[in-house]
Symmetry: C2
């Protein structure tokens, strides 16, 4: 009994859930819509419904060790409170862990996405065998999770590992959403990449690029995926943007290495799927430390959420 | 018995040593010249002589729990090897911990200055009562020590906490000794401050400044102390340099806070003694986290070296 963990990954559009064994094997997974636009009560009932089905699949709550939840931040993993995520309107200081514990009579823990994903990579992903790991996720934002001695490092407010808000250029023209100039998130996350491509094409109208055709002239529609596709076609603008992105990430990781000296850096998230053209540049600059792509792509949120209930010493069976 | 720790602080010009109780009280201290220019054998005999006197003062080696040594880096705390410090010519891959253990029959441990000083501040200095602390020393270089859960955080190579080599400006005109552009050490440590003052005065010959008189026109002789004195006299150039230094340190610490979210930041080292004009600017930018001056000024190296033998849970008696 109590040998399964429920992992719940709450996103803006869907809630993914799964049953994970103590060896890190996903034995059941389900997805439901979040209906975030209908407010907290609706999303919560979706989550409760999903967990109910997973408890049933586990053969009852006596088989469930705990419920791990990850959601977009800001949130406080120590108190289990989701503060006010932009992607979950109506969620304001929600004591989600306490609510789910009360509802299901099973321990529940809240964790932020990047920390959870980093822990999952250490327990049964790309960083198995390592103790001190920096996990980075590059998508619409840049998140980091610091794992020290196979445990999440929290800092004072449970807010450590906000490495996306480290500036590499204190007089940058790009101001981050956090208010700081030149944060790596403002420069190198998906929206930053798209913006740099757009600015290049706007500033020089005669500059040829397939991105003009791909967006039918609506340069504000450029996406990281388009940049990746254009670069494959040897589009110079797209290649320059990818090169710069790799350079920025490499320069930033150089600093992170100076501070943390991790054994390995694992990079996940949508932008990381650009792969080799990006990783080559990063590795050139972060040369003292191995940089590897994340192993857990699909269901990383479910694995991550479940990880918070896994003992750090537990060996993985498979991912 | 075994209730005293010998702390040894090896510097380029002098070796400071002391006897420290388990409660963190310094009961005996001595200083001898390093004679670094006469090579390793001479310096080593100075250190051995000093330790011999301290063992004697302790009433014999059965009263000595261990010998903690700090020295300039690069060094490896895990293996106890001093690699090749620029300030200690002739020291090349010296297994100092092993040599002293063999000589005195007492356990010996090597630690780098900033880590040791950081630990000492946590155990009996400005950070008593805190667990997660960032220690920063600003003098001719910038060193950092990361304390997690009252223990030194090492990373892969025992080289973590080289936060002085985090760049805040990837396209800076200032290249650090480490090869990177815009490291905080290149911008804000003593030599960086002096260089910025000199460049300002060289670029604008008509710019009035008492620094011209203080150096009798030899601008290469500007020191951080002169800048501090000139700023007190309301010298505009000196005040600008101090303001910039505080701004750089604040911007850098903002990034360090994003990554580490420490409970408190302790700043020591010679430049930090400039005090209020520097700290005011830093605090403005690093506003989420308390920034306090180091408490252990004199003998910080001896306290630090001794700290590596103190149990992390030990409460301090006095400093």
């Amino acid at each position: 009994m109590a040998q399964l963990i429920i992992g719940i990954d709450v996103g803006g559009t869907k809630v993914a859930g799964g049953l994970v064994t103590l060896k890190g094997r996903l034995v059941e997974s389900r997805v439901v819509p979040t209906y975030a636009d209908r407010g907290f009560a609706k999303s919560y009932s979706q989550i409760v419904h999903l967990i109910g089905r997973l408890v049933q699949a586990a053969g009852g709550k006596h088989n469930v060790l705990g419920i791990g939840i990850c959601s977009p931040g800001p949130l406080n993993p120590k108190t289990g409170v989701v503060i006010n995520p932009p992607n979950l309107p109506g969620w304001r200081n929600i004591k989600i862990a306490e609510m789910l514990e009360g509802k299901f009579g099973v321990p529940a823990k809240l964790e932020n996405d990047a920390n959870a994903a980093g822990l999952a990579e250490v327990l049964f992903g790309a960083a198995v065998g390592y103790k001190d790991v920096l996990y980075v996720t590059v998508s619409t934002g840049i998140g980091t999770g610091i794992i020290v001695n196979r445990k999440i490092y929290y800092g004072k407010n449970g807010a450590a590992g906000e490495g996306g808000h480290v500036s590499i250029d204190y007089h940058s023209p790009y101001r981050c959403g956090c208010g700081t100039l030149g944060c790596i998130e403002a420069l190198a996350a998906g929206p930053g990449m798209a913006r740099r491509a757009r600015v290049m094409l706007e500033q020089e109208h005669s500059l040829p690029s397939v991105l003009r055709d791909m967006t039918r002239g609506h340069l504000e529609r450029i996406t990281p995926l388009m940049i990746q596709q254009a670069a494959k076609k040897k589009d110079r603008v797209a290649q320059t943007v990818l090169d710069e992105t790799g350079f920025y990430l490499g320069a930033w990781l150089g600093g992170m290495i100076s501070v943390l000296d991790p054994e390995v850096i694992v990079i996940g998230g949508g932008v990381a799927q650009i792969g080799k053209p990006l990783f080559d540049k990063i590795k050139e600059l972060a040369d003292k430390t191995p940089v590897v792509p994340a192993k857990l792509q699909k269901n990383v949120g479910v694995y991550g959420a479940a990880s918070v209930f896994l003992p750090a010493g537990e060996e993985a069976e498979s991912a």
